[in-house]
Symmetry: C2
Subunit: 583 residues, 2 copies
């Protein structure tokens, strides 16, 4: 059997250490694992080693690779190991730890190089394509990640099966870097952070807020069309509520500390479910009201370590397009799951995201043995999992099944989305819940007059606004489609005497709710055009003598190039229609 | 000089006690003051006295009133007072307290009745119109408001100058009770409370949320049209932010306890200003960008004692239509105050609220002597107060000036609104701020290249969504104008075979974004019509054989009555236009 990519990457870490030691014999290798897209090795150098040295190190690595056969395993005593790594305090520290735990001390030898290692290499070094790896960057890293320890030098490399894969990945990374939503968020003035407001708490500028408002209104209106009842519920609630729902023990660590008000404790809500259930419980309910789709753009608060915070993707407060569908039975629940997936399909289609290419379905199951993490009711789990499986099979799209990825109250369908960096993440989920109805007593009077227990579907349509915004910024590389663009049209009069006509065009566009701006400042045409292009504005209207005479403007589209002179009325219609159709 | 209404009310409290003692000689009078709309007196009765006794008591009061002249003041020693009130432990307790403080003990005598009292009565009892008062209700009240003490019986009366004023007030109170937003909120299913979510934290049902969303979108869109930049900023921020702004010492008591996250303390924000200032500070600013109108539908959190919480009017979290306008100088600030008042005028006009009748302007000034409550800069106060005064004078509407009602950072214009109960309250404010720009360093580069300090206008357009909602529910008595109504049209097919056509009408209305509902259940016509009327739906479309034949419906307007049969297309246009014009 061929060795795995992980084994190749791990082997390359050894190769890197061997090469470094040949060039800098006094460097002290410490730890060097395989990672998601390659490998790294941390060294204690006496010299400063920069990225300029990479060609030299890579050349040496390829030389050594030619002569290495495989990795020879040797088990040694603590004393022998200490002798071999004498003078390298890092390896000595590891050796005593392994020995203390009573574990075997294993060395792996290839060519002249020996490393303390648990194993996991290629069978034969010829399996490694010498063009399949590339050193990428040097970074500082504390020994064992502890800032009290010495700062080491980490050399980091990409590694794939072959040269083509490696090159593809490098291109994708470069593109991802250009499209990084943190970078574009700043360049396009979409959101900012403030140290004194706090980490992980974005402030949305006018432009970012415009996109966000469009996204929010789009999904709220679409959901209402599909029979959702949009509500507003408070962002804080008594701790008792989360104890009643049973969330507290499972979510405690991701909730913020309670706020004492008089004699009661209040929490920043980490989820919306119990709030919606309390609304449901405000009146007796009949089967005629079901399915009841309670939806909200709900602000939620979940703890993230400050080191984990990142742009709009990892924040401490986010706004979820959330809903809870109260169903009368598993048949209705199945239908509602289908409809929820239809809505997700629709919304993603509007965003230009495709099932198969950009996202896929994952059926996340429970674990009957782990009754601590998952509610103990094997029959209910079987039923619910089968219901979701049937829904997915009916859709015909491929899906994978993963164990022990469910919520504590039931299985779920995860929509797994690939970002521009190629990394996959759960974007939205549709969850089946047979636990909350019991805890909250979510009952309804059926057609036969009997009080029955409902079922709940938890679902998000476009997920958290912050995350979908980050995703879309990167997907569009900041060039939002016209309906989402913060500024949709820039009107550029060639000279000052064209300002009045330009102003009248501005008003015509604003009247039909197009976000238009007039660049009437006394600057040269080229500068204005460049500014509009930098801002990735979908349309530019250039107005000079010729245009005014013909009641027209020269229309330049960001995506389709120069469309030539067109009548103002036609331009207004063209842009208005494009916005309405969200194409 | 004629006696004041307060003196009359106070005299009537004595009269009530005298009448009660004539009927129940062993009753013990305790305390009886004048209040906003009348008077009350608390008694310790051995018998149970209910509202059924009111005619008898009132009759006795009128008999005594005829014979009383005035109130004769007598100063007595502690011993004399104790002798007179022997056996009434309540009066004895008051006597020792007054004596302990070294104050004079004064009695007031009229006819046979003597009371321990500080004074403040009519000169002559003939000034009291015998038809100007009415006993209203009996209530339990602890002695001195302390629940550890005995429960006394409070008899409460309305009193005005004359019979006409009294009757007007009673009618207004009854109307207010019917229009009470708490009652209508429940009857019309607009919002609910949940004990386990917490007091003062409303949950908005679908219907209430629909009205709220319309209100929010209306004001956001209107503000954007007027050049506001709508943003989103976080609802929590580090305590440091409110220390930087200087709000903390002034607002501490109305802020909730800090939430510790890692080593930092975060607060639920009580105001938006510092958040918007941080946005302003995210880039260097030029005079060309000013005035910069930063606006937000901002969720705020302020402490209210649980006893003070009331429906949507006093809540613990509210959503303010807030904005901060950064201006380059006092001239620009004056212009922006004018524009803010114009916007308030416009919004209130849309709601049918009138300047003069429903609201008036109040100029709230600082207090140069109170430098603890108001920022110490007499010149800046003079300038700012004069600027606001000029704006109000220019508008020509009458306004009053009140001292020591300003914010700590500057004077403000308050829009004082009268609710249906006749009570006046501050609905919105426009504030002038010369302190925050200093604290935050809100600078801009002027046309001469020099960095200058800005000025800030704080303003709300329609205030807190919760309060404006409460106000509008009461103003409209639940009958929202069509553009705000949760359900705008109900379609009622006469019989089952009319359902298909009714469904097609529903779709036509929904297509142009009219909130329409179809009552297709198998219930009789009368019941359906009653349900729609109870819900105060603006329009009912009744569809039977005749209507289908003529492609029409019988249109019944909540406000204009039966409008007869009309073509469906005409009905759709009529309703659509009414919504768009918000009339």
């Amino acid at each position: 059997m061929a060795s795995s990519l992980e084994q190749k990457r791990h082997s390359l870490a050894h190769l890197l250490a061997a090469a470094v030691l040949e060039i800098w014999p006094d460097a002290k290798p410490t730890i060097g694992p395989a990672v998601d897209d390659g490998f790294y090795y941390d060294f204690d150098f006496s010299a400063t080693v920069s990225e300029k040295e990479f060609p030299r190190i890579e050349k040496k690595m390829r030389e050594i690779l030619k002569v290495w056969q495989g990795f020879e395993k040797v088990e040694v005593s603590k004393e022998e190991a200490e002798k071999i790594f004498a003078g390298n305090q890092y390896k000595l520290e590891l050796i005593s730890e392994i020995a203390e735990k009573g574990e075997a001390l294993t060395l792996y030898k290839s060519g002249e190089f020996t490393d303390l290692c648990r194993g996991g290499h290629v069978e034969n070094c010829s399996e490694i394509d010498p063009e399949s790896f590339k050193l990428i960057r040097v970074a500082g890293a504390y020994w064992r990640g502890d800032e009290k320890n010495k700062m080491l030098t980490r050399i980091y490399g990409f590694a794939f099966e072959n040269k083509a894969d490696l090159e593809n990945y490098i291109v994708m990374q470069e593109e991802a870097k250009k499209r990084d939503h943190k970078k574009l968020g700043k360049d396009l003035d979409l959101f900012v952070f403030s140290e004194v407001v706090g980490k992980g708490l974005p402030l949305w500028t006018e432009k970012g807020a415009t996109v966000r408002r469009e996204l929010e209104r789009f999904i709220v209106d679409e959901e209402i069309k599909r029979g959702y009842k949009h509500v507003y519920t408070p962002d804080i609630a008594k701790l008792d509520l989360y104890k009643k729902s049973g969330h507290y023990p499972y979510y405690k660590d991701s909730m913020y500390a309670p706020i004492k008000i008089d004699d009661e404790e209040f929490m920043l809500r980490p989820m919306t479910c119990p709030h919606h259930f309390e609304l449901y419980l405000s009146k007796p309910r009949s089967y005629k009201e079901l399915p009841m789709r309670i939806a909200e753009m709900a602000k939620l608060y979940r703890y993230e370590q400050s080191g984990e915070l990142s742009g709009l993707v990892r924040v401490r407060s986010f706004c979820l397009a959330d809903a809870h569908i109260i169903c009368k039975d598993s048949v209705q629940a199945g239908e509602e799951v289908e409809k929820a997936l239809d809505l997700i399909d629709y919304a993603t289609k509007v965003f230009g995201i495709k099932l198969g290419t950009d996202y896929s379905y994952r059926l996340s199951l429970g674990d009957r043995k782990n009754t601590e993490k998952y509610f103990d009711d094997p029959q209910a789990w079987d039923l619910a999992e089968e219901e979701l499986r049937k829904v997915l099979q009916k859709r015909g799209a491929p899906f994978i099944e993963v164990s022990a990825e469910a919520a504590f109250y039931g299985p779920k369908i995860d929509i797994q989305m690939k970002g521009v960096s190629g990394k996959e993440d759960t974007a939205f989920t549709v969850q089946y819940d047979f636990v909350m109805p019991k805890r909250f007593g979510l009952m309804y009077k059926d057609s036969d007059g009997v009080e029955k227990e409902a079922l709940v579907i938890h679902r998000s349509s476009i997920g958290a606004i912050e995350r979908v915004m980050a995703f879309l910024i990167e997907k569009y590389a900041g060039a939002f489609p016209t309906w989402l663009a913060p500024v949709q049209v820039v009107i550029i009069p060639v000279r000052e005497n064209h300002n009045d006509f330009a102003q009248s065009v501005l008003e015509k566009l604003q009247k039909v709710c197009v976000r238009a701006e007039l660049m009437s400042q006394d600057e040269n045409l080229g500068k204005k055009v460049r500014a509009a292009k930098n801002d990735l504005v979908p349309y530019m209207l250039i107005i000079g003598d010729k245009e005014i005479e013909a009641e027209s403007a020269t229309l330049e589209s960001r995506d389709k190039g120069n469309l030539g002179a067109m009548k103002i009325a036609d331009i207004v219609n063209l842009i208005k229609e494009e916005i309405e159709e969200k194409k």
